[in-house]
Symmetry: C2
Subunit: 202 residues, 2 copies
């Protein structure tokens, strides 16, 4: 069974690389499917699951404010850790169905015993801001500074949640097989070459 | 003019990747040629030049011991900075002769205004030790621990000397276009794929 995990900075085009790579290789592609599968298992709302899993777990375990009751904070911890466990279960189940590409969800760490090929995708800040702008929903009108803040916040949560289930750090190159800088590159054009590279060694 | 710079951890196979990539692309390859050209310009011994450039410049500027005279330490600084300046000159001259691959020598930083394609090659420690062992000269009989120490010392000097002439850090992925982990991979097999990847975007 071959598993390619794609870890990525927000706005770097990692999801696009993952999707195109899966198509190129004829592998299954898992991204939002994971959230849907957790929703099925838990009967929780997909939006709620996504918000909880994509927020920093540490912030939920150690709430910044203690003005609310302990019960509320405990409730958060229980939910977040329960969802993390479900995520692990779902990621593992999907990985056993056949060759696949999994984007995010700390799959590189959760499946490390299965020896996945681990990609990390990154880009410089302006390039990430520009990509976010291009993909902005109608009515979304952030300044560059606001996008930068959003990108940094999301990546911080990704790093914290990854490191919560892993012995190594998110974004530290030595933990990946290949790290791709997408600044100024045509993702569509490079994916076939990337697929060839991976096929040669994995 | 196309310039590919290869920065690499000691023992990771970066030099082999650089040489094979140059052959694959039909580019000139510069590595020891740089030391020879500096020797010609300065009438200094190649071994001396290499030792000076490959030792930490910072250690030469701030000598650990002050037991020798200031004149001696000043002499070292003057030699080291003079050689760095000559290295810059030689790297630039070579880069203007035509498409090329340059291994090491902080060429990524020295030529950053020429927009080179910047590769970083790395591997896990055991893999680097094994590679060093395979390439050991006859009679060389280091333990793993000794190889590890040697690798760390050389990489520390590379990082310091790079950062002496650069605004960004050696080995920090965001400063490279592609970072390749060579742990357990067949370099000969991946270079043609790598060449295709680079040709597509550079």
């Amino acid at each position: 069974m071959k598993i390619i995990t794609v870890s990525r900075e927000f706005g770097s085009g990692g999801r696009e690389i993952g999707k195109r790579l899966a198509d190129e290789l004829g592998f299954a592609y898992y991204d939002r499917e994971i959230v849907s599968a957790i929703a099925e298992k838990t009967s929780l709302d997909e939006g709620y699951i996504e918000r909880t899993l994509d927020s920093s777990i540490l912030n939920q375990v150690y709430p910044v404010t203690f003005s609310r009751t302990f019960a509320f904070s405990y409730h958060n911890i229980a939910n977040a850790t329960n969802l993390l466990a479900k995520q692990h279960q779902v990621v593992r189940e999907l990985s056993q169905k056949g060759d696949c590409v999994i984007v995010g969800r700390s799959a590189d760490a959760l499946l490390s015993d299965l020896n996945p090929f681990k990609l990390f995708v990154y880009a410089d800040m302006q390039s990430k801001i520009d990509r976010c702008k291009k993909r902005a929903e109608e009515g979304e009108n952030f300044t560059d500074k606001e996008y930068k803040k959003k990108i940094e916040k999301i990546d911080k949560a990704r790093a914290e949640n990854h490191d919560f289930v892993s012995s190594y750090a998110w974004g530290d190159m030595k933990n990946y097989d290949l790290c791709i800088n997408t600044t100024n590159i045509d993702i569509k054009a490079i994916v076939p070459k990337l697929a060839e590279y991976i096929k040669t060694i994995y």
